[in-house]
Symmetry: C2
Subunit: 440 residues, 2 copies
């Protein structure tokens, strides 16, 4: 008998069906009992006589044939999409037997310490609370690609092994590449810029490898970056594009995952007109409205970000706020200094509810200026040979931006630790297993 | 004046517009001349008086203001989408000056040797013939994701740095991971399987790192893999899914890129019902129809693949043919042996016009059997700790498949060398620049 998906059982009252899925809960009541069985569409309550329950336990993979019955009115579960029905089992087959679980997987919340959550990652990801994080994450990716495509961007596949050129700053992972020392790329930045003269507008999703010896709750050694780059755009138009990609991605996630977002207590995004402030204007507002004088700081601190977002929501009905003109020295070498005041740059961040989710800039597109910028940061132009080639043969005014997928997931869902926003997080202490368990 | 995209100029006859783009061709005729200017939408002929032409050359980035005029009937160019109009320039501004080109970029075909094509990759990618390869490649990616989504697969982001576990066989790149020796993953295989109990159906696009010391025209050291994995599917259903993903991806590319495909002489795909043959059946046909007795070989050789595709097109009107049941020893350890004859496996390849484009199998989903399979290949189960965890706690019957993005691009377009199908190919001899130019 062919499989019926669990959610489709709602339309099969009185019919015989075969479902398959994982046992999530087992409830024994003497001679009878119940199983909650889950597949990719939902959960159904299965009524069983005790003989059929045998030694079935949570995470066993089962195939169950039986009849779909309506539940009596008072037993309807309004919190379950199949809450008006149950499956009255006739045959129960265990397709795959689960070992005894190291902790309870049947609770609504999986209350585990982070190391345990990650030591048993292949198991804990199955819990709906954890799984929902990654359903939402897949919607972020899809939303990002959808709006990028609408903006005429062509998808590019960029390499992640490079020789020589690094963007400076962050430390890099080293690879033995046929006896040569290569590095894992810190971002798709240099490659996406090189493709502006090819497609004018491009997007990509790529890994960002960052070997900092950092164990903070906000740092991953390997992150995922969503990047766009646009040619023939001036600064104001870049801001339009950047805000559009940010808002459309958020809207897509809201549309695709309303149920999952609700479980994280996510409130609908306020999409008022996004205020645009220079760093200095934002600091002025923070001084006037919140009484903290950070007007000479080179960046917003975490409290500043929270406060300026609070201000944007109150004054402009917007959960988003754009901050521009960060000090040139604080941004990467390819960032265009503001011609009117080169101490500041044509850079921008998009803040969402107190945290930065997107960052970018107009780029230096003049070959000579770019060579000078590389030198001024103590790097060698000859290590950027192919990158500079793109500028040597005609590069229009251009710019772009990127968001961190895990960071955005974490911020949207207010997760405690960015590791919760990565299926298989890599950090100083872990590559699936704890590195401390390995011989050096 | 705001920018008009070149293709939109067709609707602006008699109006003044500003276009911007790259000079592709310059033609001088004494006191007048013409520029062909290209942006992301198309090419337009620009009429200039000699004074406006100055020292403009190919690849200069220009912004041109002028009036759109209809061309006289006899000067219409039917091969150009803007062939009925031209732009009569009033002001010509060079936004970015290109250096003198190392070779002619204005020819219809870019007739360069591969090393030169790659030494000047940031330039050669701009040639429409090269660029079209990657427009088609982006449509392959999009088509793959579209059908995967339709099949209820959730997109996953898999890590590409791992410790210990390799799939065996191919050599691996080694990374210094905070003092520990890690490796770049050979495929997303192990991770996508681990996510079957989470989402049941998943897809991903990931790098495949293969450190073989090989310099053939068909080998890349880093390839891009498109992968699906499905739970609760038996062998026949897996074949349905696999053929669907293959055909829908091809159809999407045909729909999205008709113009680009035509330039490669691509003939419409024959989508007759796909014949399914075991390896031995295929070899029998090759023996009977083509007179070559390879009935004891463990795989099809290149001529076999060509011939069996010829047969499938003639007998079944299909450019695709599915071959199943390859010898178990020839496939990876996780491949399910056929229970009826374990010498052969529940594996499959999809051939397209003489070349394999997809490959996959039903997997071993029983924990103990999988541990034995790992041992039987001389590998250590303890190096697969997290992978095996997924099987320990309940794994349904499952299987999947993958295609190589560059390989499929190469096969579709009949490219000579797989390096032509990678924006920035990595091989033994090159990482953007030639490795021989580096100190070891």
């Amino acid at each position: 008998m062919s499989r019926t998906l669990i959610l489709d059982c709602n339309d099969k009252i009185g019919e015989e069906v075969t479902i398959s899925g994982w046992v999530q809960v087992r409830r024994d009541h003497g001679k009878i009992g119940f199983l909650d069985v889950e597949d990719r569409t939902g959960i159904i309550q299965v009524f069983c006589t005790a003989d059929k329950l045998g030694d079935i336990r949570v995470q066993d993979v089962v195939e169950i044939t039986g009849k779909i019955a309506e539940r009596p009115e008072k037993l309807i579960n309004p919190n379950l999409e199949t809450g008006k029905i149950e499956l009255q089992s006739e045959t129960v087959t265990v397709l795959s037997k689960a070992a005894e679980l190291p902790f309870d997987m049947g609770m609504k919340t999986l209350d585990l310490q982070l190391p345990t959550l990650l030591d048993f990652r292949a198991l804990t990801l199955r819990h709906s609370e954890v799984r929902n994080i990654f359903k939402i994450q897949s919607a972020i990716l899809e939303g990002f690609r959808k709006v990028s495509k609408e903006l005429d961007c062509v998808e590019i596949v960029v390499p992640e092994i490079a020789i020589g050129s690094t963007e400076g700053g962050a430390e890099v992972f080293k690879v033995d590449y046929y006896g040569h020392q290569a590095t894992m790329t810190q971002s798709p930045q240099l490659y996406k810029q090189m493709l502006v003269p090819v497609f004018e507008r491009v997007f990509t999703v790529a890994h960002a490898y960052r070997a900092e010896p950092s164990v903070t709750t906000r740092h991953l050694s390997v992150a995922t970056q969503m990047d766009c780059e646009f040619g023939f755009v001036a600064f104001e138009e870049l801001l339009d594009l950047f805000e559009k990609v940010g808002t459309e991605t958020l809207k897509h996630v809201e549309n695709e995952c309303p149920k999952e977002l609700k479980k994280f207590g996510f409130k609908p995004v306020a999409f008022g007109k996004i205020p645009r402030l220079t760093l200095r204007e934002a600091q002025e507002i923070i001084f006037k409205e919140f009484g903290r004088d950070n007007r000479n700081e080179k960046d917003l601190n975490p409290q500043d970000e929270i406060d300026i977002c609070k201000w944007a929501l109150e004054k402009h009905g917007s959960d988003l706020v754009t901050i521009t003109h960060f000090p040139t020295v604080k941004r990467a070498f390819y960032t265009m200094p503001d011609p009117e005041n080169p101490e500041y740059s044509l850079s921008y961040d998009l803040l969402f509810r107190g945290l930065e989710i997107l960052s970018g800039s107009q780029r230096i597109n003049d070959y000579d200026q770019l060579v000078e910028a590389i030198k001024s940061r103590g790097m060698k132009p000859e290590e950027f040979e192919l990158y500079l080639q793109a500028f040597k043969y005609g590069m229009p005014p251009e710019g772009g931006f990127s968001f961190g997928l895990e960071r955005m997931t974490m911020n949207l869902l207010q997760l405690q630790n960015i590791r919760q926003a990565s299926l298989f997080p890599r950090d100083m202490e872990r590559v699936d297993i704890r590195l401390s368990t390995l011989k050096k």
